[in-house]
Protein backbone atom coordinates (compact mmCIF):
# COMPACT_ATOMS: atom_id res chain seq x y z
CA UNK A 1 0.00 0.00 0.00
CA UNK A 2 1.24 3.49 -0.78
CA UNK A 3 1.78 6.27 1.73
CA UNK A 4 -1.35 7.20 3.72
CA UNK A 5 -2.38 10.85 3.38
CA UNK A 6 -4.98 10.44 6.09
CA UNK A 7 -4.72 8.23 9.13
CA UNK A 8 -7.08 8.23 12.11
CA UNK A 9 -6.79 5.98 15.13
CA UNK A 10 -9.47 5.76 17.81
CA UNK A 11 -10.72 9.25 17.04
CA UNK A 12 -13.72 10.45 19.02
CA UNK A 13 -15.65 13.72 19.09
CA UNK A 14 -17.87 14.72 21.99
CA UNK A 15 -19.90 17.87 22.47
CA UNK A 16 -20.72 17.97 26.17
CA UNK A 17 -22.92 14.96 26.88
CA UNK A 18 -23.36 14.00 23.27
CA UNK A 19 -20.94 11.66 21.60
CA UNK A 20 -20.87 12.17 17.86
CA UNK A 21 -17.98 9.91 16.94
CA UNK A 22 -16.03 7.27 18.84
CA UNK A 23 -13.18 4.94 18.01
CA UNK A 24 -13.00 5.97 14.39
CA UNK A 25 -10.19 4.31 12.43
CA UNK A 26 -9.58 5.47 8.91
CA UNK A 27 -6.75 5.20 6.47
CA UNK A 28 -6.76 6.77 3.05
CA UNK A 29 -3.86 6.26 0.66
CA UNK A 30 -2.54 8.69 -1.94
CA UNK A 31 -4.55 8.52 -5.14
CA UNK A 32 -7.39 6.78 -3.35
CA UNK A 33 -11.05 7.72 -3.12
CA UNK A 34 -13.00 6.73 -0.03
CA UNK A 35 -16.72 7.05 0.58
CA UNK A 36 -18.36 7.51 3.95
CA UNK A 37 -22.05 6.71 4.27
CA UNK A 38 -24.49 6.87 7.12
CA UNK A 39 -27.96 8.17 7.87
CA UNK A 40 -28.80 11.81 8.70
CA UNK A 41 -27.09 13.04 11.86
CA UNK A 42 -24.72 10.09 12.13
CA UNK A 43 -21.63 12.32 12.27
CA UNK A 44 -20.47 12.28 8.66
CA UNK A 45 -20.03 16.04 8.43
CA UNK A 46 -18.32 16.13 11.83
CA UNK A 47 -15.84 13.53 10.60
CA UNK A 48 -15.22 15.61 7.50
CA UNK A 49 -14.51 18.69 9.62
CA UNK A 50 -12.02 16.69 11.69
CA UNK A 51 -10.31 15.61 8.48
CA UNK A 52 -10.27 19.21 7.26
CA UNK A 53 -8.41 20.17 10.50
CA UNK A 54 -11.33 22.46 11.33
CA UNK A 55 -12.32 20.54 14.44
CA UNK A 56 -9.91 18.97 16.88
CA UNK A 57 -11.07 15.55 18.11
CA UNK A 58 -11.73 14.95 21.81
CA UNK A 59 -10.09 11.52 21.80
CA UNK A 60 -7.65 9.54 19.70
CA UNK A 61 -4.98 10.71 17.33
CA UNK A 62 -4.12 10.81 13.69
CA UNK A 63 -2.42 12.68 10.91
CA UNK A 64 -3.73 14.57 7.90
CA UNK A 65 -1.20 15.25 5.15
CA UNK A 66 1.51 14.50 7.69
CA UNK A 67 0.30 17.04 10.23
CA UNK A 68 -0.80 15.59 13.58
CA UNK A 69 -4.39 16.25 14.65
CA UNK A 70 -4.98 17.96 17.96
CA UNK A 71 -2.24 20.51 17.38
CA UNK A 72 -2.39 23.73 15.43
CA UNK A 73 -2.18 22.78 11.79
CA UNK A 74 0.36 24.80 9.75
CA UNK A 75 -1.30 27.08 7.14
CA UNK A 76 0.84 25.43 4.44
CA UNK A 77 -0.87 22.10 5.16
CA UNK A 78 -4.33 23.65 5.27
CA UNK A 79 -3.84 25.20 1.84
CA UNK A 80 -3.52 21.66 0.47
CA UNK A 81 -7.00 20.75 1.73
CA UNK A 82 -10.24 21.65 -0.04
CA UNK A 83 -13.64 21.24 1.55
CA UNK A 84 -17.02 21.60 -0.08
CA UNK A 85 -19.58 21.58 2.68
CA UNK A 86 -23.36 21.88 2.98
CA UNK A 87 -23.36 25.65 2.99
CA UNK A 88 -21.54 27.31 0.11
CA UNK A 89 -18.52 29.30 1.30
CA UNK A 90 -19.40 32.30 -0.87
CA UNK A 91 -20.09 35.96 -0.19
CA UNK A 92 -23.63 36.63 -1.39
CA UNK A 93 -23.02 40.29 -2.23
CA UNK A 94 -20.03 39.55 -4.46
CA UNK A 95 -20.22 38.32 -8.02
CA UNK A 96 -19.10 34.82 -8.93
CA UNK A 97 -15.96 36.32 -10.47
CA UNK A 98 -15.22 38.41 -7.36
CA UNK A 99 -15.77 35.40 -5.12
CA UNK A 100 -13.21 33.32 -6.94
CA UNK A 101 -10.99 36.37 -7.40
CA UNK A 102 -10.79 36.82 -3.64
CA UNK A 103 -9.55 33.25 -3.26
CA UNK A 104 -7.21 33.61 -6.25
CA UNK A 105 -5.46 36.69 -4.88
CA UNK A 106 -4.96 35.00 -1.51
CA UNK A 107 -3.44 32.02 -3.31
CA UNK A 108 -1.33 34.28 -5.50
CA UNK A 109 -3.13 33.36 -8.74
CA UNK A 110 -3.76 35.67 -11.63
CA UNK A 111 -7.08 37.11 -12.69
CA UNK A 112 -6.81 35.23 -15.99
CA UNK A 113 -6.89 32.03 -13.96
CA UNK A 114 -10.18 33.13 -12.41
CA UNK A 115 -11.93 33.70 -15.72
CA UNK A 116 -10.43 30.57 -17.26
CA UNK A 117 -11.44 28.35 -14.33
CA UNK A 118 -14.96 29.74 -14.20
CA UNK A 119 -15.30 29.05 -17.92
CA UNK A 120 -14.09 25.50 -17.32
CA UNK A 121 -16.90 24.84 -14.87
CA UNK A 122 -19.41 26.32 -17.29
CA UNK A 123 -19.91 29.72 -15.69
CA UNK A 124 -18.14 31.78 -18.34
CA UNK A 125 -21.42 33.52 -19.09
CA UNK A 126 -22.28 34.32 -15.46
CA UNK A 127 -19.13 36.06 -14.22
CA UNK A 128 -21.01 39.20 -13.16
CA UNK A 129 -23.87 37.39 -11.46
CA UNK A 130 -24.06 38.02 -7.74
CA UNK A 131 -23.65 34.83 -5.73
CA UNK A 132 -26.92 35.37 -3.84
CA UNK A 133 -28.72 35.74 -7.17
CA UNK A 134 -27.26 32.45 -8.40
CA UNK A 135 -28.84 29.06 -8.04
CA UNK A 136 -27.57 26.38 -5.71
CA UNK A 137 -26.07 24.51 -8.65
CA UNK A 138 -24.20 27.58 -9.87
CA UNK A 139 -22.82 28.23 -6.39
CA UNK A 140 -21.66 24.63 -6.25
CA UNK A 141 -19.87 25.08 -9.57
CA UNK A 142 -17.99 28.10 -8.19
CA UNK A 143 -16.87 25.92 -5.31
CA UNK A 144 -15.58 23.32 -7.75
CA UNK A 145 -13.77 26.09 -9.60
CA UNK A 146 -12.14 26.95 -6.29
CA UNK A 147 -11.06 23.32 -5.87
CA UNK A 148 -9.56 23.28 -9.38
CA UNK A 149 -7.67 26.44 -8.57
CA UNK A 150 -6.42 25.20 -5.19
CA UNK A 151 -5.17 21.89 -6.66
CA UNK A 152 -5.60 20.15 -3.29
CA UNK A 153 -3.90 16.98 -2.09
CA UNK A 154 -6.96 16.21 0.00
CA UNK A 155 -10.44 16.87 -1.32
CA UNK A 156 -13.38 16.54 1.06
CA UNK A 157 -16.88 16.55 -0.38
CA UNK A 158 -20.02 16.69 1.74
CA UNK A 159 -23.08 15.46 -0.24
CA UNK A 160 -21.39 16.68 -3.38
CA UNK A 161 -24.16 15.47 -5.68
CA UNK A 162 -27.07 17.01 -3.79
CA UNK A 163 -29.22 19.13 -6.06
CA UNK A 164 -26.90 19.02 -9.08
CA UNK A 165 -27.87 18.55 -12.71
CA UNK A 166 -26.27 16.05 -15.09
CA UNK A 167 -23.50 18.45 -16.17
CA UNK A 168 -22.62 19.45 -12.65
CA UNK A 169 -22.57 15.81 -11.60
CA UNK A 170 -20.08 15.16 -14.39
CA UNK A 171 -18.04 18.07 -13.00
CA UNK A 172 -17.93 16.36 -9.60
CA UNK A 173 -16.69 13.17 -11.22
CA UNK A 174 -14.06 14.96 -13.32
CA UNK A 175 -12.77 16.90 -10.33
CA UNK A 176 -12.51 13.79 -8.19
CA UNK A 177 -10.69 11.96 -10.98
CA UNK A 178 -8.27 14.86 -11.45
CA UNK A 179 -7.33 15.05 -7.77
CA UNK A 180 -6.81 11.27 -7.62
CA UNK A 181 -4.73 11.25 -10.79
CA UNK A 182 -2.45 13.92 -9.32
CA UNK A 183 -1.83 11.63 -6.34
CA UNK A 184 -4.25 13.26 -3.93
CA UNK A 185 -6.92 11.63 -1.81
CA UNK A 186 -10.65 12.23 -2.02
CA UNK A 187 -13.14 11.56 0.73
CA UNK A 188 -16.81 11.74 -0.16
CA UNK A 189 -19.63 11.78 2.32
CA UNK A 190 -23.17 10.91 1.41
CA UNK A 191 -26.30 9.31 2.78
CA UNK A 192 -26.93 7.68 -0.59
CA UNK A 193 -23.96 5.59 -1.73
CA UNK A 194 -25.17 4.86 -5.30
CA UNK A 195 -23.76 7.95 -7.01
CA UNK A 196 -20.42 7.89 -5.32
CA UNK A 197 -19.72 4.20 -5.85
CA UNK A 198 -17.99 4.78 -9.22
CA UNK A 199 -15.70 7.43 -7.64
CA UNK A 200 -14.33 5.49 -4.70
CA UNK A 201 -12.24 2.41 -4.06
CA UNK A 202 -13.57 1.73 -0.59
CA UNK A 203 -16.59 2.62 1.50
CA UNK A 204 -16.96 3.08 5.22
CA UNK A 205 -20.28 3.14 6.97
CA UNK A 206 -20.81 5.06 10.18
CA UNK A 207 -22.67 2.82 12.61
CA UNK A 208 -23.27 3.90 16.21
CA UNK A 209 -20.76 6.72 15.84
CA UNK A 210 -17.94 4.54 14.58
CA UNK A 211 -16.72 3.49 11.15
CA UNK A 212 -17.24 0.03 9.67
CA UNK A 213 -15.57 -0.79 6.38
CA UNK A 214 -17.58 -2.38 3.61
CA UNK A 215 -20.49 -1.66 1.31
CA UNK A 216 -23.61 -1.25 3.45
CA UNK A 217 -26.66 -3.41 2.99
CA UNK A 218 -29.26 -1.60 0.93
Amino acid sequence: MTEALVQLEGVGVRFGRITVLRDVDLRVAAGEGVGIVGPNGSGKSTLLRVLATLLQPTDGHGTVLGAPLGKDTPPAVRRRISLIGHQPALYGELTLEENLGFVARLLGRSHDDVVKTLSKVGLGGALDRRADHSSHGMQRRVEFARVLMTRPDLLLLDEAHAGLDRHAAALVEATVATVKRRGGSVILVSHEPDRMLPLVERIYEIVDGTTVEGVPEP
Binding site: G16, R17, T19, G41, S42, G43, T46, G209
Partner: protein
Protein backbone atom coordinates in the same frame (compact mmCIF):
# COMPACT_ATOMS: atom_id res chain seq x y z
CA UNK B 1 -10.67 20.80 47.77
CA UNK B 2 -12.99 19.49 50.47
CA UNK B 3 -10.11 19.54 52.94
CA UNK B 4 -9.03 23.07 51.99
CA UNK B 5 -12.60 24.16 52.41
CA UNK B 6 -12.93 22.58 55.86
CA UNK B 7 -10.00 24.74 57.01
CA UNK B 8 -10.84 27.93 55.11
CA UNK B 9 -14.54 28.14 55.93
CA UNK B 10 -14.18 28.23 59.74
CA UNK B 11 -11.28 30.67 59.41
CA UNK B 12 -13.45 32.95 57.28
CA UNK B 13 -16.31 32.80 59.80
CA UNK B 14 -13.98 33.60 62.70
CA UNK B 15 -12.37 36.36 60.61
CA UNK B 16 -15.71 37.99 59.87
CA UNK B 17 -16.78 37.82 63.54
CA UNK B 18 -13.50 39.39 64.69
CA UNK B 19 -13.65 41.94 61.87
CA UNK B 20 -17.17 42.93 62.83
CA UNK B 21 -16.20 43.28 66.50
CA UNK B 22 -13.17 45.44 65.65
CA UNK B 23 -15.24 47.58 63.31
CA UNK B 24 -17.92 48.17 65.90
CA UNK B 25 -15.48 48.92 68.73
CA UNK B 26 -13.27 51.23 66.67
CA UNK B 27 -13.72 54.91 67.55
CA UNK B 28 -16.56 56.78 65.87
CA UNK B 29 -15.38 59.23 63.23
CA UNK B 30 -15.51 62.87 64.37
CA UNK B 31 -16.90 64.23 61.08
CA UNK B 32 -18.85 61.38 59.51
CA UNK B 33 -20.14 59.76 62.67
CA UNK B 34 -21.44 56.23 62.54
CA UNK B 35 -21.63 56.23 58.72
CA UNK B 36 -17.88 55.93 58.47
CA UNK B 37 -18.29 52.31 59.56
CA UNK B 38 -19.43 51.29 56.07
CA UNK B 39 -15.75 51.79 55.20
CA UNK B 40 -14.97 48.47 56.87
CA UNK B 41 -17.08 46.76 54.23
CA UNK B 42 -16.55 49.18 51.37
CA UNK B 43 -12.75 49.19 51.21
CA UNK B 44 -12.29 45.39 51.49
CA UNK B 45 -15.01 44.86 48.85
CA UNK B 46 -13.35 47.25 46.42
CA UNK B 47 -9.98 45.61 47.08
CA UNK B 48 -11.37 42.13 46.45
CA UNK B 49 -13.16 43.28 43.31
CA UNK B 50 -9.77 44.11 41.81
CA UNK B 51 -8.24 40.87 43.12
CA UNK B 52 -11.11 38.85 41.62
CA UNK B 53 -10.81 40.42 38.20
CA UNK B 54 -7.03 40.05 38.25
CA UNK B 55 -7.51 36.34 39.03
CA UNK B 56 -9.96 36.15 36.10
CA UNK B 57 -7.30 37.74 33.88
CA UNK B 58 -4.59 35.30 34.98
CA UNK B 59 -6.89 32.30 34.64
CA UNK B 60 -8.02 33.51 31.20
CA UNK B 61 -4.42 33.68 30.01
CA UNK B 62 -3.88 30.29 31.63
CA UNK B 63 -6.77 28.81 29.71
CA UNK B 64 -5.59 30.14 26.35
CA UNK B 65 -2.08 28.86 27.04
CA UNK B 66 -3.03 25.41 28.39
CA UNK B 67 -6.52 24.82 26.94
CA UNK B 68 -7.44 23.18 30.24
CA UNK B 69 -11.00 23.79 31.46
CA UNK B 70 -9.68 23.98 35.04
CA UNK B 71 -8.46 27.50 34.24
CA UNK B 72 -11.81 28.40 32.78
CA UNK B 73 -13.60 27.32 35.97
CA UNK B 74 -11.29 29.57 38.00
CA UNK B 75 -11.82 32.52 35.63
CA UNK B 76 -15.61 32.16 35.74
CA UNK B 77 -15.81 31.67 39.51
CA UNK B 78 -13.59 34.64 40.20
CA UNK B 79 -15.59 36.87 37.86
CA UNK B 80 -18.76 35.93 39.73
CA UNK B 81 -17.09 36.81 43.02
CA UNK B 82 -15.79 40.03 41.48
CA UNK B 83 -19.24 41.11 40.39
CA UNK B 84 -20.55 40.34 43.87
CA UNK B 85 -17.83 42.41 45.58
CA UNK B 86 -18.10 45.25 43.05
CA UNK B 87 -21.83 45.38 43.70
CA UNK B 88 -21.19 45.41 47.45
CA UNK B 89 -18.61 48.20 47.06
CA UNK B 90 -21.06 50.23 44.98
CA UNK B 91 -23.90 49.75 47.44
CA UNK B 92 -21.87 50.57 50.55
CA UNK B 93 -20.36 53.53 48.71
CA UNK B 94 -23.78 54.93 47.96
CA UNK B 95 -25.20 54.17 51.41
CA UNK B 96 -22.25 56.09 52.86
CA UNK B 97 -22.51 58.86 50.29
CA UNK B 98 -26.13 59.70 51.04
CA UNK B 99 -25.62 61.03 54.60
CA UNK B 100 -22.05 62.27 54.10
CA UNK B 101 -22.25 63.89 50.65
CA UNK B 102 -26.01 64.33 50.73
CA UNK B 103 -26.36 62.28 47.55
CA UNK B 104 -26.22 58.61 46.56
CA UNK B 105 -24.21 59.33 43.49
CA UNK B 106 -21.41 61.86 43.17
CA UNK B 107 -19.88 62.30 39.74
CA UNK B 108 -16.96 63.92 41.50
CA UNK B 109 -15.77 60.58 42.82
CA UNK B 110 -13.79 58.95 40.03
CA UNK B 111 -13.60 55.70 41.92
CA UNK B 112 -17.35 55.40 42.21
CA UNK B 113 -17.76 55.94 38.47
CA UNK B 114 -14.98 53.48 37.72
CA UNK B 115 -16.49 50.85 40.02
CA UNK B 116 -19.85 51.18 38.29
CA UNK B 117 -18.19 50.72 34.89
CA UNK B 118 -16.30 47.66 36.08
CA UNK B 119 -19.52 46.23 37.46
CA UNK B 120 -21.14 46.55 34.02
CA UNK B 121 -18.11 45.20 32.14
CA UNK B 122 -18.12 42.01 34.19
CA UNK B 123 -21.90 41.69 34.09
CA UNK B 124 -21.26 41.62 30.33
CA UNK B 125 -18.61 38.95 30.87
CA UNK B 126 -21.11 36.78 32.77
CA UNK B 127 -23.80 37.46 30.14
CA UNK B 128 -21.38 36.33 27.44
CA UNK B 129 -20.75 33.10 29.34
CA UNK B 130 -24.47 32.45 29.69
CA UNK B 131 -24.99 32.94 25.96
CA UNK B 132 -22.61 30.20 24.82
CA UNK B 133 -23.50 26.58 25.54
CA UNK B 134 -20.52 24.67 24.14
CA UNK B 135 -17.91 24.50 26.95
CA UNK B 136 -14.72 24.96 24.91
CA UNK B 137 -16.15 27.76 22.78
CA UNK B 138 -17.41 29.45 25.93
CA UNK B 139 -14.05 29.07 27.64
CA UNK B 140 -12.09 30.37 24.65
CA UNK B 141 -14.24 33.39 23.99
CA UNK B 142 -14.74 34.44 27.58
CA UNK B 143 -10.99 34.10 28.14
CA UNK B 144 -10.39 36.59 25.32
CA UNK B 145 -12.98 38.97 26.72
CA UNK B 146 -11.57 38.52 30.24
CA UNK B 147 -8.22 39.72 28.92
CA UNK B 148 -9.64 42.63 26.90
CA UNK B 149 -11.70 43.77 29.89
CA UNK B 150 -8.78 43.81 32.29
CA UNK B 151 -6.41 45.49 29.84
CA UNK B 152 -8.98 48.26 29.44
CA UNK B 153 -9.41 48.83 33.18
CA UNK B 154 -6.26 50.97 33.64
CA UNK B 155 -7.20 53.03 30.58
CA UNK B 156 -10.75 53.52 31.83
CA UNK B 157 -9.26 54.38 35.23
CA UNK B 158 -6.92 57.05 33.82
CA UNK B 159 -9.57 58.59 31.64
CA UNK B 160 -12.14 58.79 34.42
CA UNK B 161 -9.73 60.13 37.05
CA UNK B 162 -8.13 62.75 34.76
CA UNK B 163 -11.56 63.81 33.70
CA UNK B 164 -12.64 64.23 37.33
CA UNK B 165 -9.50 66.11 38.42
CA UNK B 166 -10.25 68.67 35.73
CA UNK B 167 -13.69 69.21 37.26
CA UNK B 168 -12.67 69.38 40.89
CA UNK B 169 -15.56 70.93 42.74
CA UNK B 170 -15.06 72.92 45.90
CA UNK B 171 -16.59 70.42 48.28
CA UNK B 172 -15.69 70.54 51.94
CA UNK B 173 -15.34 66.78 52.20
CA UNK B 174 -13.31 65.27 49.36
CA UNK B 175 -13.98 61.57 49.03
CA UNK B 176 -10.24 60.96 48.79
CA UNK B 177 -9.69 62.16 52.31
CA UNK B 178 -12.56 60.14 53.68
CA UNK B 179 -12.22 56.62 52.41
CA UNK B 180 -8.93 55.94 54.10
CA UNK B 181 -6.49 56.87 51.37
CA UNK B 182 -2.89 56.60 52.43
CA UNK B 183 -2.32 60.33 52.54
CA UNK B 184 -5.23 60.98 54.86
CA UNK B 185 -4.71 60.80 58.61
CA UNK B 186 -6.41 57.80 60.10
CA UNK B 187 -6.84 56.72 63.67
CA UNK B 188 -4.64 53.67 64.42
CA UNK B 189 -7.62 51.81 65.89
CA UNK B 190 -9.61 52.45 62.72
CA UNK B 191 -6.69 51.31 60.62
CA UNK B 192 -6.42 48.13 62.67
CA UNK B 193 -10.13 47.42 62.22
CA UNK B 194 -9.79 48.03 58.50
CA UNK B 195 -6.83 45.68 58.18
CA UNK B 196 -8.58 42.92 60.13
CA UNK B 197 -11.59 43.29 57.83
CA UNK B 198 -9.41 43.23 54.74
CA UNK B 199 -8.00 39.93 55.92
CA UNK B 200 -11.45 38.58 56.87
CA UNK B 201 -12.94 39.50 53.47
CA UNK B 202 -9.99 37.95 51.69
CA UNK B 203 -10.65 34.74 53.61
CA UNK B 204 -14.32 34.94 52.59
CA UNK B 205 -13.24 35.36 48.97
CA UNK B 206 -10.85 32.40 49.19
CA UNK B 207 -13.56 30.22 50.78
CA UNK B 208 -16.20 31.05 48.21
CA UNK B 209 -13.69 30.67 45.40
CA UNK B 210 -12.63 27.19 46.49
CA UNK B 211 -16.27 26.19 46.94
CA UNK B 212 -17.36 27.67 43.60
CA UNK B 213 -14.50 26.10 41.66
CA UNK B 214 -15.23 22.79 43.39
CA UNK B 215 -18.90 22.94 42.41
CA UNK B 216 -17.98 23.80 38.82
CA UNK B 217 -15.53 20.90 38.75
CA UNK B 218 -18.16 18.48 40.08
CA UNK B 219 -20.60 19.70 37.44
CA UNK B 220 -18.06 19.17 34.69
CA UNK B 221 -17.15 15.74 36.01
CA UNK B 222 -20.80 14.74 36.15
CA UNK B 223 -21.20 15.76 32.51
CA UNK B 224 -18.07 13.84 31.58
CA UNK B 225 -19.17 10.73 33.49
CA UNK B 226 -22.58 10.93 31.94
CA UNK B 227 -21.03 11.15 28.48
CA UNK B 228 -18.79 8.15 29.10
CA UNK B 229 -21.22 5.90 30.98
CA UNK B 230 -24.38 6.28 28.94
CA UNK B 231 -22.96 7.03 25.57
CA UNK B 232 -25.52 9.11 23.74
CA UNK B 233 -24.62 8.72 20.12
CA UNK B 234 -25.83 11.76 18.22
CA UNK B 235 -27.01 9.62 15.32
CA UNK B 236 -29.02 7.32 17.59
CA UNK B 237 -31.47 10.13 18.31
CA UNK B 238 -32.79 9.82 14.78
CA UNK B 239 -34.85 6.81 13.75
CA UNK B 240 -36.90 5.84 10.73
CA UNK B 241 -40.08 7.92 10.34
CA UNK B 242 -43.03 6.16 11.93
CA UNK B 243 -45.90 5.92 9.49
CA UNK B 244 -47.95 3.15 8.04
CA UNK B 245 -48.70 3.92 4.45
CA UNK B 246 -49.30 7.59 5.29
CA UNK B 247 -49.58 10.08 8.13
CA UNK B 248 -53.40 10.16 8.32
CA UNK B 249 -54.55 8.01 11.19
Amino acid sequence: MKKTLSILAPLAVVGVVIGFTFAMTAPIDAYQGIFQKTMYVHVPSAWLAYISFAVTLIASIGYLAKKDLRWDRIAASSAEMGVFFTGLALMTGMIWGRPVWGTFWDWGDARLVLTALMFIVYLGYLALRRSIAEPTTRARRSAVFGIVAFVQIPLVHFSVSWWRTLHQQATVLRPETLTGAADAPIDPLMLRALMVNLLAFTLVYATFMVARVWIAKLEDEREERHALENIEIAGAAISAPDFDGGFDD
